[in-house]
């Protein structure tokens, strides 16, 4: 046994003080008596003969001494070996670092049949139980594994209490848990002089890389939250995919494609219904083999449906993934879609190619509408065989695509005009992905000259046919060919090439649906200063956007910095609303996207059979020498002291109580 604060034994000085008090003669109580005749004979010794007397061996004195001794001993903070842990649970004194990896993925929403608690709630209770014994000197790190791993830490008593309070209230993050990343982080968290313990609390439906687990270098304990039941009890049905696209037959109808999976051990036949804007518009019975088999379904959609929901009409332990939704009309009506201005006096093949691109807003203006070009507010300007005057060009503040630019425009040309043939192609360039130029003819084409920094993508012996450059310090792509004299627009390569250029130059639109746990990454429009995303929980997230107009040399040049928005909190299933605002706080538009709970990995609730063996590779051989667990006994001693004081109180007052109870008996006798 050790004393962590030996100076506390100084409080033992209270014992002689107590004894001294008991040795002191008490002042006699003043009592009126009728006669002093027998007084002297009854009390022959005068009261003040001695100030002190021998200490009386009374029960109150002994109890007071015991209480003082216990308190002094408690102040000295005795710590003893772990054999007394059972007697005083949670009162250990050796500092340790407890790292809890708490699985908050969507699969933890499942409710095992025998209990009313979800696995997440069971895991949280387990985590709180593990944190409860920690005391001053201990360090706790809780890594909440979900789409966005959240780390909570505590380094002292107060922060441990705050951590427990926060953990008791924290909501399930959902999404997919990356156990390997969490294990790697736990391995990096090596604090000196602390005994490190890693505890994973999960449903077991999670994978771990043995090599990563081996790098943790500390003992890893796996705790299965809720019941560790068999595959039969972990059976789950899920809608794991949903999409809508035009029918390949070209009849103008739109088809809804969905996949239903059965992660149970046996084949099942279940009803699946389709709802459009809240009304049931389809239903069918589907037979799905067990063991994770997937059954595809297809429905023809009526026109004009804004919101679709596919639902498996059978209850199971994870109900969230029994439904999946889609917003087929959102992409067409979204106000956030990139805005493209086509400047053309005679819209033709180029206009048709731009109109075929999904999730963009296209505006067409004639070449002489210079105010529209100079006004800005577009994410991409496409010049179709036209070029604005220099004074308008200097106001161009966005990326541009030039198709068949005229001679004498802002792009330098020689005097020659040729009928070029492709002789050079920049292999692997993203603008040429899926573009087959074999057999294409280009017609009379001016010879353009490349400036320093320009990048030829397709070239002929006389000059470039497709190249990257900068116009007014903004990125630009030049297609030197006149689409009306070339056969290029009649080939599949043309719309593919235009779509590639738009994808490269204009910001991405927001997809109508995002897989569970996948981050939303998109580039807001040029005038956007802030993006607000409201998840299904209703708590909005404000994401600032890097300004494109920053000329401050101290800031990162815009050309090298990404304006992409990265939103990672897509772990909760439901509808998310995205709103863009400008620097003045004015709404620029909003759109919605859907995240569905069904996922091939998260909907599979079966325990990964390789998990235990993978975690067993974490030997902890590099941990500091094993420490003897000790328990801190001062609270026990203080509690016993309190009981002794209570006993002393009873002993001190007992004669009075006994006298009170006897009095009626005496009265009855007389």
């Amino acid at each position: 046994m050790n004393l962590l604060f030996p100076a506390g034994l100084a409080a033992l000085v209270a014992i002689p003080v107590i004894i001294l008090f008991h040795m002191r003669h008490t002042t006699p109580t003043r009592r009126p008596v009728p006669s002093l005749r027998f007084w002297e004979a009854a009390n022959p010794r005068p009261a003040d003969a001695r100030r002190l007397r021998r200490p009386p061996l009374s029960l109150p004195l002994l109890l007071q001494i015991a209480a003082a001794a216990l308190l002094a001993f408690a102040l000295a903070r005795p710590a003893t070996a772990a054999q007394l842990t059972a007697l005083a649970p949670g009162l250990h004194s050796e500092p340790r670092h407890l790292i809890l990896l708490l699985d908050g993925s969507t699969s933890m929403s499942a409710t095992p049949g025998a209990t009313s608690l979800s696995r997440w709630e069971a895991a949280r209770l387990e985590a709180l139980e593990r944190l409860a014994p920690l005391r001053q000197g201990d360090v706790a790190t809780v890594i909440l594994m979900g789409t966005r791993p959240v780390t909570l830490t505590a380094t002292d008593d107060a922060s441990l209490i705050a951590l427990r309070e926060r953990l008791a209230l924290v909501t399930q993050p959902g999404g997919r848990a990356d156990l390997d990343a969490a294990l790697a982080l736990a391995g990096d968290l090596f604090l000196p002089n602390l005994d490190r313990q890693v505890v994973i609390i999960s449903d077991g439906a999670i994978t771990a890389d043995p090599a990563v687990a081996a790098g943790v270098d500390a003992p890893v304990t796996l705790v299965i939250a809720g019941a560790a039941d068999e595959d039969e009890e972990r059976a789950n049905l899920a809608v794991i995919d949903i999409s809508a696209r035009p029918s390949p037959s070209g009849d103008g109808t739109v088809g809804l494609y969905t996949s239903v999976a059965n992660f149970g051990p046996r084949s099942l036949t279940v009803p699946v219904s389709l709802h459009g804007d809240g009304l049931e518009i389809g239903r069918s019975d589907v037979t799905i083999a067990g063991g994770g088999a997937v059954e595809p379904l297809r429905w023809l959609l009526p026109p004009g449906v804004a919101e679709l929901t596919v639902r498996i009409e059978q209850a199971d332990s994870l109900s969230a993934d029994n439904t999946a939704s889609l917003l087929p009309g959102e992409a067409a009506t979204a106000a956030i879609a990139p805005r493209i201005l086509l400047v053309s006096d005679l819209p033709g093949a180029l206009a048709r190619a731009l109109q075929a691109i999904e999730n963009v807003q296209l505006t067409i203006e004639p070449g002489d509408n210079l105010s529209a070009i100079a006004a800005g507010g577009y994410d991409l300007i496409v010049f179709d065989r036209t070029a604005p005057p220099t004074e308008t060009l200097t106001k161009l503040d966005t990326a541009s695509l030039w198709v068949g630019p005229p001679v004498g425009g802002p792009l330098a040309t020689t005097e020659g005009i040729v009928d070029p043939k492709v002789t050079r192609v920049r292999a692997g360039d993203p603008l040429l992905a899926g573009v087959d130029l074999s057999g294409a003819t280009f017609g009379p084409t001016p010879i353009f000259t490349l400036s320093a920094g320009d990048e030829e993508i397709v070239g002929s012996t006389d000059g470039p046919l497709l190249f990257r450059t900068q116009v007014n310090d903004q990125p630009a792509v030049i297609l030197t060919v006149d689409p009306e004299t070339s056969n290029l627009p009649k080939r599949v390569a043309f719309p593919v090439l235009i779509a590639n250029v738009v994808e490269a130059l204009a910001p991405d639109g927001i997809p109508a649906a995002i897989p569970l746990g996948e981050p939303l990454v998109y580039e807001p429009r040029a005038s956007t200063a802030s993006v607000e995303i409201v998840p299904p929980s209703g708590e909005p997230a404000q994401l600032p956007v890097l300004s494109v107009e920053s000329d401050d040399e101290e800031h990162i040049p815009i050309g090298s910095a990404s304006r992409d928005i990265v939103y990672t909190d897509t772990g909760a299933a439901g509808v998310y609303t995205v709103t863009e605002t400008d620097a003045a706080g004015i709404d620029l538009g909003s759109t919605r996207f859907v995240v569905n709970a069904g996922h091939p990995r998260e909907s599979d609730l079966r325990i990964d059979p390789t998990l235990a063996s993978a975690l067993a590779t974490a030997s902890g051989s590099g941990v500091t020498a094993p420490r003897e667990e000790r328990v801190d006994l001062w609270p026990l001693l203080a509690l016993v002291a309190l009981m002794v004081i209570a006993a002393e109180w009873i002993a001190a007052l007992w004669p009075a109580a006994r006298k009170t109870t006897r009095r009626p008996v005496v009265r009855g006798a007389t």
Binding site: V139, T141, A158, I645, W649
Partner: protein
């Protein structure tokens, strides 16, 4: 901002003993002349203080007493001169920190290592801030730059209270996605300051890539 919290709030139920002691003391002690009022008050005070001590009152300090985690790039892309300049800046920053400010240093290359454990910022001046090995003896692998792992460790370090992260790097990331960690730090309200140090210059010659046809024929 500070607040009072209790380590064992359940122990406060024992305060119910105080009125019991008081009533019995008054009834059986003071009223019958067996106990003086002062003695009763002393005993009640002892019991109450003992119970409060058992409940362990604590003063919880807010995030204002947090600190900084310095995430220092030790990859090969940073030259010796730039590294020395960064180390001087780091020592100056630690030396100028308020006495109560805590700090830790994470060094990273391919993987992050904890160069100095969290402690008082000024105490870190005594240790080798430029250390390339961790508290557990792990050594930085300088062949890659994994900023995201360094930021991830900085976010997870048990520093106590709030924190801000100071990244000292040339930004030449070639492992992971630092922007993901930055986005998560932003959502948690953890600011990241960046001290840009010179890395490999743009005029440096290098083999940027190599490609070859998938098949070739003789002749």
């Amino acid at each position: 901002m500070t607040s009072l919290v209790w380590a064992r709030p359940d122990a406060l139920w024992l305060l119910a003993l105080v009125p019991i002691f008081a009533l019995t003391g008054i009834w059986l002690g003071i009223r019958r002349g067996r106990l003086q009022r002062v003695a009763l008050l002393w005993r009640l005070a002892v019991v109450a203080l003992l119970v409060v001590g058992l409940a362990e009152p604590l003063i919880a300090s807010g995030s204002a007493t947090g600190g900084a985690v310095f995430v220092v790039d030790r990859s090969d892309s940073i030259g010796a001169e730039a590294r020395d300049a960064a180390d001087r800046w780091l020592r100056d920053a630690l030396g100028a920190a308020p006495p109560t400010r805590r700090a830790a240093i994470v060094a990273f290359g391919a993987k992050p290592v904890l160069a100095t454990a969290p402690g008082a910022a000024r105490d870190l001046l005594d240790v080798d801030a430029a250390a390339e090995s961790a508290t557990d003896g792990a050594v930085v692998d300088p062949s890659f730059t994994g900023i995201d792992a360094g930021l991830g460790l900085a976010r997870a370090l048990p520093l106590g209270g709030g924190r801000r992260i100071v990244l000292v790097s040339d930004g030449a990331e070639n492992l992971g996605q630092a922007v993901d960690q930055a986005a998560q730090a932003a959502l948690e309200g953890v600011p990241i300051d960046v001290l840009v140090v010179p890395g490999v210059s743009a005029s440096d010659l290098r083999v940027d890539g190599i490609s070859a046809p998938t098949s070739a024929w003789e002749g």
